[in-house]
């Protein structure tokens, strides 16, 4: 392993090439098949952004964060009351309690929510040429995936779904994901920020350095909010981490057995 890395470093004189090599090495020297943090490689999180050979930013790695979990308002650094909820949506938010969170019923998180400290990955296909698809793989919650169709168009009238219909394109080094066609069932956070099927999200993912990935997200839902609003969440790389299995509904005490409402 060491020998392979040394060869890679000596062959790659350019900075970008070195970044690719380190990224590749991380994938190999990891964690005994994803069994935890005991074997974490020491990596400078402020190191250079890794790139594929064609120059495209490599979003690879296991990340945590990058979206709201507990409270979109607080975590998005909004002032109290600053998020422009329509009166009915404010009333609904105030009536919600964490016990009714669809997330607790093992339902998908939707967009842009993330799951605390469970890691997730961007995976692109194909890997070493222009991607046609980018997938988000989540460990939890739930153990699911989302797909982004690159350089594509939205269908005219997509059926409402938990993750909606996502199209993506690169704007310089930022992956811009535009999503419509959501259902209204998921909550943006545990606090219960609501939305309607009119929801339209625009995520701008920018890998600032090796270990930090910004998600500047705009939420535009005229059904629940009086105007679009934007904030940024930052995902943190977890070197050596791997996605593990997490099947929320295996024995969920008050989830699937009771039925999602």
């Amino acid at each position: 392993m060491k020998k392979r890395l040394l060869i890679a470093v000596s062959v790659c004189a350019a900075t970008s090439c070195l970044a690719v090599s380190v990224s590749g090495a991380l994938a190999q020297q990891g964690t005994e098949g994803g069994r935890g943090r005991g074997n974490r490689p020491r990596v400078a999180l402020d190191g250079p952004v890794p790139r594929y050979p064609d120059g495209t930013v490599d979003l690879g790695g296991a990340w945590t964060g990058g979206g709201p979990v507990q409270d979109m308002e607080a975590q998005g650094k909004f002032k109290p009351g600053e998020i422009p909820l329509l009166p009915w949506a404010k009333k609904l938010l105030d009536s919600r309690t964490p016990e009714d969170d669809p997330h607790a019923y093992c339902m998908p998180m939707g967009v842009p929510r993330q799951a605390g400290n469970y890691p997730w990955r961007f995976v692109q296909y194909p890997t070493h040429t222009k991607a046609t698809h980018i997938f988000v793989l989540w460990e939890g919650n739930i153990h699911s995936f989302r797909q982004i169709f690159m350089d594509a168009k939205h269908p005219a009238d997509p059926d409402p779904t938990w993750f909606g219909h996502s199209i993506g394109q690169w704007e310089r080094d930022t992956l811009v994901i535009d999503t419509v066609g959501f259902n209204d069932k998921f909550w943006f956070d545990r606090r219960g920020h609501p939305h309607t099927e009119q929801l339209h999200t625009i995520e701008r993912w920018t890998r600032k350095d090796f270990g930090h990935l910004d998600n500047q997200v705009t939420i535009d839902d005229p059904g629940a909010y009086s105007r679009p609003f934007t904030t940024t969440y930052t995902a943190i790389l977890q070197p050596g981490e791997e996605i593990m299995e997490y099947i929320c509904n295996e024995n969920n005490d008050y989830g699937v057995a009771g039925g999602f409402r």
């Binding site: 507990q70 016990e99 939890g140």
Partner: protein, 130 residues
């Protein structure tokens, strides 16, 4: 031996860092963070499953009767990251478990920590939410 030290260190670190681990559901809906119980008992069963692993212990009461308590843990993926595996506790182990008691009054708790008979300290990791 190495594994034992690793678990000890991880456990100690987590006591400092607080709610590093989390389950997926609302802790506050089921458990009372102000009602801490510490019980000595013998492990009778381990359920290594999602979304929360559990273990059960027989606790001998002052009147010699025996009460079976269940202690909820974090999910297996989270526990694995913190050094646990499905063999960390085995049936027959004498342990001391500390946790937050259920609001319902049932004999169940959300595990804060476990001390094994040979002195290992383990973090249970269920307080808070994911």
């Amino acid at each position: 031996m190495k594994a034992t030290i690793g678990i000890l260190v991880i456990g100690a670190g987590l006591f400092v860092s607080g709610a590093r681990l989390a389950g997926h559901h609302a802790f506050s809906s089921e458990y009372d963070e102000n009602k801490v119980v510490t019980l000595k008992g013998t492990v009778t069963k381990i359920e290594w499953m999602n979304p929360h692993a559990k273990f059960f212990i027989d606790v001998v009461n002052p009147d010699k009767s025996v009460t079976n308590w269940s202690f909820e843990l974090a999910s297996p993926n989270s526990l694995t990251r913190e050094g646990w595996d499905r063999h960390t506790l085995t049936v027959g182990d004498a342990i001391t478990a500390t946790g937050f008691a259920a609001k319902s009054g049932k004999n169940m708790a959300s595990t804060r920590s476990v001390a094994t008979a040979d002195g290992k300290a383990l973090f249970g990791g269920t307080q808070g939410i994911q």
